[in-house]
């Protein structure tokens, strides 16, 4: 055990000792354990730090058993790990025609041939992940917090978000990561995100949305080392009603933890342009 890991043990002890609070974020479910949370000098929860999801949501938001690699030669290295749904109620409420498109996406997610295939999973092409997918990619992200603005910087590609906490502003343009307006509701950071283009997916299984997407995220600390993350997704072109995902985020306390470069545009150059390399 490293010195850095010890505070986590103390936190776990504190978690057991603390009386269970009743502050469940907005979704229904059993109350979550509560432990003391660090605060900034202005009294807000202190979200500064490096965070990461541990779910398999990036493979599929819904229930999924283990599955084979989409690339035969990758064997078990490329296999899908199993996971239970992070969607409240289990299933995403697609419109019928949208469900058909999702299933089509699923078939096209990994084309298996070189080139820049736009029908593939955008992650395969190293495109910006959008929201909420940025949160549960298999990469950490770092939060920087002041009393007026929050920045979230993701390890994946050059993804990041500026989240002003002042008066909300209209999205001035369509973008991959959307236009974020943040506010505090008690100890919950609420981020309202609009202005998305229709290009991103929610996972590797073809779950998707249109450019009518609106995401309302809720980050609620339940202790020094855990945030409860919820995202409510509205998109009347694609879904019959709003729906919500939730999962914990874990504070990374590894020794000297820091984001490293994952500049994936470089990692897909051979895939996208290999046929034009001089022979």
């Amino acid at each position: 055990m490293t010195r850095r890991a010890r505070p986590a043990v103390f936190a776990a002890v504190a978690l057991v000792l603390a009386s269970f609070g009743t502050a469940r974020p907005s979704a229904q479910g059993p109350p979550l354990p509560q432990a003391p949370i660090p605060r900034t000098p202005d009294g807000r929860p202190d979200l500064n730090g490096v965070w990461q999801a541990l779910s398999t949501a990036n493979f599929d938001l819904e229930d999924h058993g283990s599955g084979p690699s989409p690339v035969l030669l990758m064997g078990a290295l490329g296999a899908t790990p199993p996971g239970e749904s992070v969607v409240d109620g289990g299933r995403i409420p697609y419109r019928p025609e949208a469900l058909a498109k999702r299933n089509e996406n699923r078939k096209n997610a990994v084309p298996g041939t070189p080139g820049r295939h736009l029908q593939a999973d955008p992650e395969l092409n190293c495109f910006l992940p959008g929201v909420p997918r940025a949160t549960y990619l298999p990469h950490p992200f770092q939060i920087f917090q002041s009393s007026t603005v929050i920045w979230m910087v993701y390890q994946y590609s050059y993804a990041r978000r500026e989240i002003p906490l002042g008066a909300p502003t209209e999205a001035p343009y369509e973008s991959w990561m959307g236009w974020s307006n943040g506010r505090w509701e008690g100890d919950t950071l609420v981020v309202d995100v609009t202005g998305f283009n229709g290009e991103t997916w929610f996972d590797r299984s073809g779950n998707y949305h249109s450019d009518a997407l609106r995401v309302v995220e809720r980050y609620t600390p339940i202790g020094a080392y855990h945030l409860m993350y919820e995202a409510t997704i509205e998109d009347p072109k694609t879904f019959t009603r709003p729906w919500t995902i939730s999962m914990p985020l874990y504070r990374r306390i590894d020794r000297n933890v820091r984001l490293l470069e994952f500049k994936c545009p470089e990692l897909v150059e051979e895939l996208h342009m290999g046929e034009y390399r001089k022979r």
């Binding site: 920045w151 034009y276 001089k278």
Partner: protein, 336 residues
Amino acid sequence: MTHRALASASLAAAVIALWPSLGAVTAQGPTARPFTPPPSTYSPPRTPWGDPDLMGVWDYQSLIRMERPADLAGKARFADEAEYRAWAKANAPNRDSETGVGAYNEWWNDRNFVVNLNTSLIVDPPDGRYPALTPAAEQRRKEILARARELASWEDYHALARCIASQTPNAPQAYNSGTYIMQSPGWVAIIRERLDTRLVPLDGRPHVGDNIRHWNGDAVGRWDGNTLVVETTNFTDKQRLGGMSGASVPAGIPFGSFRLVEHFVPVSRDRIEYYATVVDPTTWTRPWTFNLPWERDPDYQLFEYACHEGNYALTNSLRGERVQEAEAARTREAGK
């Protein structure tokens, strides 16, 4: 995806057409002292946890070039702002006459130049010119340039044309150079509108191990009074066409495994004197430093720079090269 991002990918073609020569280099002694920036008496406001507070958007458009122009040789500084402004008026760029693939007319260019009384960005060596390359680096530069003309693959393009990085350190660039400084206890984030976010820990930790190499290197920092000092190592040696983006950087300089020391010296509420010292004895015969003034720009809104997502120009450029090669081969064949 902006028009600008789309066109940035075709920048490589323009760069290749306009190789700037390294220019005359004055011989310099090999034993230069480590660079120390001039001190400032300005004391910035504090963050709630007591660090100097530099948060907000800054920009560093510059009319002053990396190297001192020949007609200003021997004159390190303008006498006053009036003399700078007179010179600036006479030397303001206008690219509206440019035509052809890769041309950037004035529509592209932010012209919000920060006043700078220095006549070159390079302040050390004191003649305002790059020091000489080592013979090995000069050889490598020639090889890089020869390969780049061939455009055999994406690796022969600048990292910016590949949407990988605008690279470190940042020299002035024509547009989208707005940079957000964000701070948290123990950290400074340097968030550039173009692609890169540099995260600088201030807790005295060591650099990452030798096997981890980054396009923007691995930064660690500390406060020296009110000055933020950042040391960056672990750069990849895959940089091409000059390690820095932006104007007036000689093409083909083989930036590789160098050490970068940056000093961010706040001199007023709205101005940081930024100094970047490049230490790389395998490439340069002595360390050198440039000084770029940063100015606060509260009206500047950083937008998403989704560069790779729409980067068709790089593919099309390579494809064009291969088509031309095939046509040339057919012509040769027909002439036999």
